[in-house]
Amino acid sequence: MTHQKLTMAQALNHALRDAMRADDTVLMFGEDVGALGGVFRITDGLTAEFGEDRCFDTPLAESGIVGMAVGLAMNGMRPVVEMQFDAFGYPAFEQVVSHVAKMRNRTRGKVTLPMVIRMPYAGGIGGVEHHCDSSESYYAHTPGLTVVAPATVADAYTLLRKAIEFPDPVIFMEPKKLYWAKEEVDLTTEQPGIGKAVVRREGRDATLIAYGPSVPIALEAADAAAAEGRQLQVVDLRSIVPFDDEKVCAAVRSTGRAVVVAEASGFASVSSEIVARVTERCFHSLAAPIRRVTGFDIPYPPPKLERHQLPGVDRILDAVDDLQWEDS
């Protein structure tokens, strides 16, 4: 356990390195993850330290990458693969949905697939088309997958270590705009694991539910609200599947009001699910319908317009204002 000031990219790199040191069946591969160290440098230095057999470039084919990982996992390895950007995970969708998610169930647990699919996801980096998708809802809707999204540097390390140790396949969504976020952290796995949400900020007036890139925005909004005298609680889901119903519902019950914040388009999404399940479970504790602040139902915009798509502090505060404070 080391106390260091690190970026999220560095923390992820540490997690991979430590996992590969701890277990020599852990392999890392994908496009440009070898000599280059990945287009975001998450795999920087791994080939140098562990050799070509442990961290390597593949031909340019995402279905092949995921499919090969399936085979490696079937035969004793713990593959970690990178989809260069989350939209480039779509060519592998068939492998993910029909095999990664189903192999264990298909074989009644005889074949397990301990593997991790890492995806730099979401926007806020001024990327051109196909570089800023938020595809977590596709995976979260697919039974058999575990879907995780860190929001802090510390969690990036913890959750990636836990994902690699996890006995089943994990879709690991890395909020790419936070890659360069720096924090003073202890690199430790002594943190809540997969399936556990955490309350990042206490507050009695309303609950903001967020994950991945939306957590820092939610915290900012809570700061701003506090300045106006409203105490917003912020829950960081960390794990989308499994979902921490207990923690999330307890939080919402304690305030009676909630806003879900997510960057993905809202329609038929993870944010819809959160609204639906929390409402189902906490209906009589709610003073107002749960609001959503999500991306619009449009393709991710070009760089010059992306700020309109991203949930921002003002939009969150507007939604909070909308929680029928008067009439309830």
Partner: protein, 362 residues
């Protein structure tokens, strides 16, 4: 000196060591397999044929939901496993029931999928047989991963990956061959070209000179064989397995055969092909010709035939008996196998169903 093209392109004609009349054809590159292998193979063909026919009957009796038969393709089915060692892996499709059983997997467990009890019924690790793949060509990339893992572990395992002619059109076929070649993974890609993908004939699938010609585009040697000649298949697949095992990388083999029956019992082949097209293929039957050859050579005696028939009778009876028993999978299983640790959501849903069933039964 051979050019790279000579090394990678297939023979001008499919390799055939025994023709449809049972006559022997010598081939400079491929020797005739040992007599005992052929006699053993003969018995396996007879058993394989019986499995196909019995399974067909069981569909008609409602004991199996569906059965994609390999009737007429038994030489491919049997050869694919005969050339493997115990540590090797087989990656079968929905049509490769005979291959799986000839690999030693329990027949009833093999038919779990087609019976509708569960998605796959055998433990893939027991005989190194992957679950039968329904989504076409998708298993081929898994085969590469399994082979590569074996190489990383320093094992000399070979993976036999099966697919049909139709499946070669899928993107995953391409990615699998390329990955295998680049990583020199010990995989033998074995295409059973039975001329049809459901109703679609080969000519609509590809205009390549042959499917074996696809190898060179990946730097993978391609070869083709008569898919109804067990001897030729054993020779060609045997050599491919040897090369892969020796570290020469993946190999591609196309067997030219024919889907004598409809795609499955649910299909009506008369809608897209004439019976006249089928007739000549019945003459090319793999069992008939091997029988003729072995008999002519004095290698097959009545005792062998009787033994093969007895083995076939036994497995047919086993299938009948095994499938007559009504197995009812436990609904609780629906929630048990997704994750090593059941999620709170699945726990809730399992409890919901249990309660519902309890109330129904009350």
């Amino acid at each position: 000196m051979t050019t790279v093209e000579e090394r990678l392109l297939p023979s001008a004609e499919p390799v055939q060591l025994i023709d449809e009349h049972g006559a022997r054809h010598d081939n400079p590159q491929y020797g005739m397999p040992a007599a005992d292998a052929l006699v053993d193979g003969y018995a396996q063909l007879v058993v394989g044929r019986r499995i196909n026919d019995q399974a067909g009957a069981l569909v008609r009796q409602g004991r199996l939901a569906v059965y994609p038969s390999s009737h007429g393709q038994e030489a491919c089915q049997v050869a694919a496993t005969m050339v493997l060692r115990e540590q090797d892996w087989l990656f079968p499709t929905y049509r490769d029931t005979v291959s799986i059983i000839s690999r030693g997997v329990d027949p009833i467990e093999t038919l779990t999928l087609l019976r509708g009890d569960w998605h796959s019924g055998y433990d893939p690790h027991e005989r190194n047989v992957a679950p039968q793949s329904t989504p076409l060509a998708t298993q081929l990339v898994h085969a590469v991963g399994v082979a590569h893992a074996a190489r990383l572990k320093g094992e000399d395992t070979v993976v036999m990956a099966l697919c049909g002619d139709g499946a070669t059109s899928e993107g995953d076929f391409h990615e699998a061959l390329n990955f295998a070649a680049v990583f020199k993974a010990p995989v033998v890609f074995f295409i059973q070209n039975n001329e049809y993908a459901i109703s679609v004939p080969l000519a609509r699938q590809t205009v390549a000179p042959s499917l074996a010609h696809k190898g060179i585009g990946y730097g993978v040697p391609g070869e083709r064989a008569d898919g109804n000649d067990l001897a030729g298949l054993l020779a060609v697949l045997g050599q491919a397995v040897d090369k892969a095992r020796a570290g020469e990388g993946p190999q591609l083999v196309e067997a030219h055969t024919y889907r004598v029956q409809a795609h499955t019992n649910a299909d009506d082949a008369s809608r897209y092909r004439d019976d006249e097209e089928v007739t000549p293929w019945l003459e090319r039957d793999p069992i008939k010709r091997l029988d003729a050859y072995l008999t002519e050579q004095g290698l097959l005696e009545e005792a062998h035939r009787a033994e093969a028939t007895a083995a076939a009778d036994k497995i047919a009876a086993d299938l009948r008996d095994g499938l007559m028993q009504d197995v009812s999978p436990d609904p609780a299983e629906l929630f048990q196998h997704l994750y090593a640790v059941q999620t709170p959501q699945l726990k809730e849903q399992a409890a919901f169903l249990q309660d519902e069933i309890a109330r129904e039964e009350a």
